[in-house]
């Protein structure tokens, strides 16, 4: 259940920004979660609702943008979409694939008032 900790970190980021930007209510939160990030989206949605309760983001809408996994083979430099960390290079068969995108977990944007 580390999605609970992630949701708490999201709230912390929202509260830090509220101090600087002076808003009192968050209506929508946009997150960017990579396909290869260690996050279960349904679980994160559940935890988000629980953690945001009674906070400045009470009943805020959660929008998650999923970014696709992309890897580059260390042997032959071939770039390919990857859905899991154990996939082999589609060109040379090597397992030495470096993730170049798809493992991010970011708070992108907020709609506030």
């Amino acid at each position: 259940m580390h999605e609970m900790s992630l949701a708490e970190s999201v709230l912390q980021i929202i509260e830090d920004a509220a101090r600087k930007q002076g808003y009192t209510r968050v209506k929508t939160v946009w997150l960017e979660i990579g396909q290869l990030a260690c996050v279960e989206q349904e679980s994160l949605r559940f935890c988000f609702d629980v953690v945001m309760r009674d906070s400045i983001a009470h009943q805020a809408r959660l929008e998650i943008t999923e970014t696709a996994g992309q890897g580059r083979c260390a042997k032959c430099s071939f770039e390919m979409p990857i859905a899991a960390l154990y996939e082999a290079c589609q060109k040379c068969g090597s397992y030495e694939i470096h993730v170049i995108s798809g493992d991010e977990m970011r708070v992108k944007e907020l709609e506030v008032e």
């Binding site: 259940m1 992630l6 509260e15 808003y23 906070s55 960390l85 154990y86 970011r106 008032e113």
Partner: protein, 307 residues
């Protein structure tokens, strides 16, 4: 965590005492004012409703972003944040890492499923290194201080972190535990994470290396089933190897799977109870400690300005 309003920091305990709050009391921003009846039902160390818009039950319509209010017109606006969800943890981890680097402390974060033999391995490691190195241990478990007691009985100072409902240690908890341990310069710090092959992979504690322990009584395909952890680790200890003759576990296949996830992963076959492979593991630790000390001396040397 207060179940009425969701405030508080959960059930995390360090050496039996509640974790100091990362946020100062009164800093927590709550939208709703806490009900008086509920406030009496449980103790609070913070205030609710401290944000400008809702203070002491007063709704201030001029506190919005626009500074005024017109009926029916929303004051909403968009704000770009672009911040990593784990940024806060990473900040605490960077503080810990900086402390380790400047004091020559070699720190390992030991991760595995429950029952892989982490604590037994630590007890044997402490026994073998006693007299050559100063060692301290941070133990993470949901409940009980049984593991810290075992470590202390083995002769090393240990602090137990109880994560309550939590499934992993984070860098803030480790920073608080470090303060209680009074770590010596040029020492070895072993952090035994909560037995869990999933969540601890995402949380940097400031360690030099994550060491993943896989025991041969588990499945060979664990690296494929839990890839994040094997990708985050620098060393894999294949533990309980003395049991291999009695099991159908294919050690070659397990190592092969681990290398699919992380081709650079170093592997040591080991048995904490029979002692097999312990020398290689202890040598690896000794080398890490020497390098940690050498790094301090290198950075401490006065810089000579070239003409």
């Amino acid at each position: 965590m207060c179940t009425t309003c969701g405030c508080g920091i959960g059930q995390t305990l360090i050496a039996g005492h509640a974790l100091k709050q990362p946020r100062k009391p009164g800093e927590v921003m709550r939208y709703r004012v806490h009900e008086v009846g509920a406030a009496l039902a449980h103790p609070h160390t913070h205030q609710h409703g401290v944000l400008d818009g809702v203070l002491n039950g007063v709704l201030d319509f001029g506190a919005g972003a626009a500074g005024t209010h017109a009926p029916g017109i929303s004051q909403s606006r968009m704000i770009k944040i672009e911040r990593d969800i784990l940024a806060k943890n990473n900040d605490y981890a960077a503080e810990n890492r900086d402390y380790f680097l400047t004091h020559g402390i070699f720190t390992l974060n030991l991760v595995s499923s429950p029952g892989s033999g982490k604590t037994t391995l630590l007890v044997k490691t402490i026994a073998a290194l006693q007299g050559t190195l100063s060692i301290a241990v941070i133990e993470g478990d949901q409940q009980t201080d049984n593991d810290a007691a075992r470590i202390r009985a083995a002769g090393a100072p240990a602090v137990q972190i109880n994560t309550g409902k939590g499934c992993h240690l984070d860098a803030y908890m480790v920073g608080q535990a470090m303060k209680q341990l009074h770590l010596q310069d040029h020492s070895l710090l072993l952090i035994e994470n909560v037995g869990n092959l999933v969540c601890p992979a995402s949380f940097d504690l400031g360690e030099a290396h994550k060491v993943v322990i896989l025991s041969v009584t588990e499945g060979e395909d664990k690296p494929l089933k839990y890839p994040d952890m094997f990708r985050a680790a620098d060393l894999m200890l294949l533990n309980k190897c003395d049991l291999l003759p009695y099991l159908e576990f294919d050690a070659e296949l397990a190592v092969d799977y681990a290398h699919r996830i992380n081709p650079k992963l170093k592997v040591i076959r080991i048995s904490a109870s029979s002692g097999e492979g312990m020398t290689e593991w202890l040598d690896w630790i000794a080398m890490g400690c020497r390098n940690a000390v050498a790094d301090v001396q290198r950075t401490a040397e006065p810089k000579v300005l070239l003409e």
